[in-house]
Amino acid sequence: MKNKDYSYLYANWDDTVRRRKITLSNPVFVKGLALAPVVVAGTTVQNGILLCIAVFFLLTPTRIITSLITRHMSVPFKTFFYPFVSALVFAFVYYYMYRYLGTRVLLLGVYLPILVIDPLIVKNFEKTRKESVLYSVINGLRNTMGFVVACLLVCAVREFLAFGTIAGIKVIGVALLPMAQYSFGGFLIVALLSGIWSTAIRNYKYKVKVEAMHSERLS
């Protein structure tokens, strides 16, 4: 990356953070959203993929519909309208997931339906900012990608530690840390990965700052 780019990033750091949902403002590791499904249900990669599919078909459509309808709504109405829309969208998503993926969808129990009121999906309800359809599509997809990366990473680590496999494929065949399959193990793994994530972000922020300073000095 050129020094000029670093200067731009440094000058617009807040915007950069807002835009980079996968890394700098990851919904799970940085913002702590959708923790319940990831911590409790995300024990295997298979479960993780199911959660990701549900979020993919739930998050962006909900954002688009709400951005179209709620432009002239006041905040108290929005508070309930967002979850209502996401619950309606979810009814279809859940039905088709059940139809095409079978009973394994039901294995996630309450942790798939609970997504409808998760702050990841209905996060904007407390905000009064109006958003365009295009923005909601882009933002929705960014958030989805952020969740997908975090969820699959957590699920893979937990499956590896708890069962010695990744996506059902035997890696070492020994359970290194059986507690990873329980909810407290999930909390711990998410916390550790979140810590590593935030270290990486700090280092990157530092690098951007120093490089930006350097380029300013040169200029």
């Binding site: 000058a11 290194l176 840390l177 059986p178 329980y182 407290f184 120093v210 300073m213 300013e216």
Partner: protein, 393 residues
């Protein structure tokens, strides 16, 4: 508790633990010493590794990890596989101690946390018991004389077929060190008499446990007094009371609060033992009660507890040669007592900004010991930088 008192406490506790380990080695053989050695080395290795990762000075006077590792080890059966012990210690010391800030500020009892980690991960290995003088393979820990522990037996509704005397002296299938009730009681009395520990928590804990065992006997067909002896002599109650509940980092400081703490721990421990799933309900209960010690201290009118910085707080110097920046960060307390070390001269506003960006998140907690540039000057330089940036736009 000052740093010196804490060191003294840890030293006495280590001697006490070694006395119990000696008794254990008489009954269970040389593997006890081997496991104790591995436990100490593992705990120390984690401490060293963390100090290397965090780039801080290694505190050689801190023995809390080794002490906890030894307490944990003596609560295990002698046939425990080494990987179980090592993994649990690494997990507990890294997560339970260093993640929360290390010495004196970790919120949960380390030994209890280690035991709980081992119990939930490998319950079948942790809750077995080995008969005294049984042949145990030194490396693998294999023995043909493993059985279930007394606490498990009582939990399943059974009664241990051993006399009270045998249970007092630990002469029955059990763990490496936590079953020698007589020895533990004598050590406890000695330490209370020498004022190395106070009586409040252990005595309150034991009396409350005995009262609950008397009032709500678990084993049917036995008298209430027999219920007391069964409950108190099994499940490492004395060991927990003396060694785990005496940890100064995770217990209240005032006598009144200590009594309340001991009472609540005993009540919760007995609930966990009666209805919980593991024999060592006391350890799980202790983790829960550890969250409340600050609250207990407050309602008992104790002084507001402050986090004490270690006396020998040194400087933390990070020299980053590649960028030519020397960062001198000192903790507040050390700043008052020692002269600040020399920092490389900050010549230009740009250098000052780099210094700010390096350490901006620490500004609330640390003082920059740069003699050449005051905070006001740094702020001025930052403002200049901002103006320049605006002008550039």
């Amino acid at each position: 508790m000052t740093n010196t008192e804490r060191k003294n406490h840890d030293k006495y506790m280590l001697w006490a633990i070694f006395a119990i380990a000696f008794c254990g080695s008489v009954l269970h053989g040389a593997r006890v010493w081997m496991l104790c050695g591995i436990a100490i080395l593992t705990a120390k290795a984690v401490d060293v590794a963390v100090s290397m990762i965090r780039r801080t000075d290694f505190d050689s006077t801190d023995h809390s990890s080794e002490l906890s590792a030894l307490i944990f080890t003596l609560m295990l059966p002698v046939n425990i596989p080494v990987y179980v012990m090592v993994t649990s210690i690494v997990l507990a010391v890294a997560v339970g101690k260093h993640m929360f800030g290390g010495r004196d500020v970790y919120p949960f009892n380390l030994a209890a946390l280690t035991m709980c980690c081992a119990a939930v991960n490998w319950p079948d290995k942790v809750f077995s018991a080995v008969a005294p003088f049984a042949k145990v393979d030194l490396l693998s820990g294999y023995t043909a004389q493993a059985t279930i522990s007394n606490a498990s037996l009582i939990k399943d509704g059974g009664v241990p077929p051993y006399s009270t005397f045998d249970m007092l002296v630990g002469n029955y299938p059990g763990v490496m060190g936590a079953d020698f009730v007589i020895v533990i009681a004598v050590i406890g009395l000695f330490m209370i008499a020498r004022r190395k520990i106070t009586w409040h928590i252990p005595v309150t804990f034991l009396v409350t446990c005995a009262a609950i065992a008397y009032l709500f006997p678990r084993v049917y067909g036995f008298s209430r007094l027999e219920s007391i002896s069964l409950e108190m002599l099994n499940g490492s109650v004395f060991f927990v009371a003396l060694f785990m509940l005496a940890d100064p980092a995770t217990t209240p400081k005032t006598p009144k609060a200590k009594v309340v703490f001991g009472f609540l721990t005993a009540v919760l421990a007995m609930i966990f033992r009666y209805v919980g799933s593991f024999d060592i309900g006391t350890c799980f209960a202790l983790l829960l009660i550890n969250t409340l010690d600050g609250y207990i201290e407050r309602i008992c009118g104790g002084k507001k507890v402050k986090i004490e910085l270690p006396e020998e707080t040194g400087t933390e110097q990070t020299k980053e040669k590649s960028r030519g920046i020397v960062k001198n960060v000192k903790l507040e307390k050390a700043e008052k007592t020692e002269k600040p070390p020399k920092a490389e001269k900050v010549k230009t506003p740009h250098d000052a900004i780099v210094l700010i960006s390096e350490t901006e998140d620490k500004i609330d907690n640390v003082i920059y010991s740069t003699r050449t540039l005051s905070i006001e000057e740094i702020l001025k330089a930052e403002e200049e930088q901002k103006k320049r940036r605006k002008a550039g736009k």
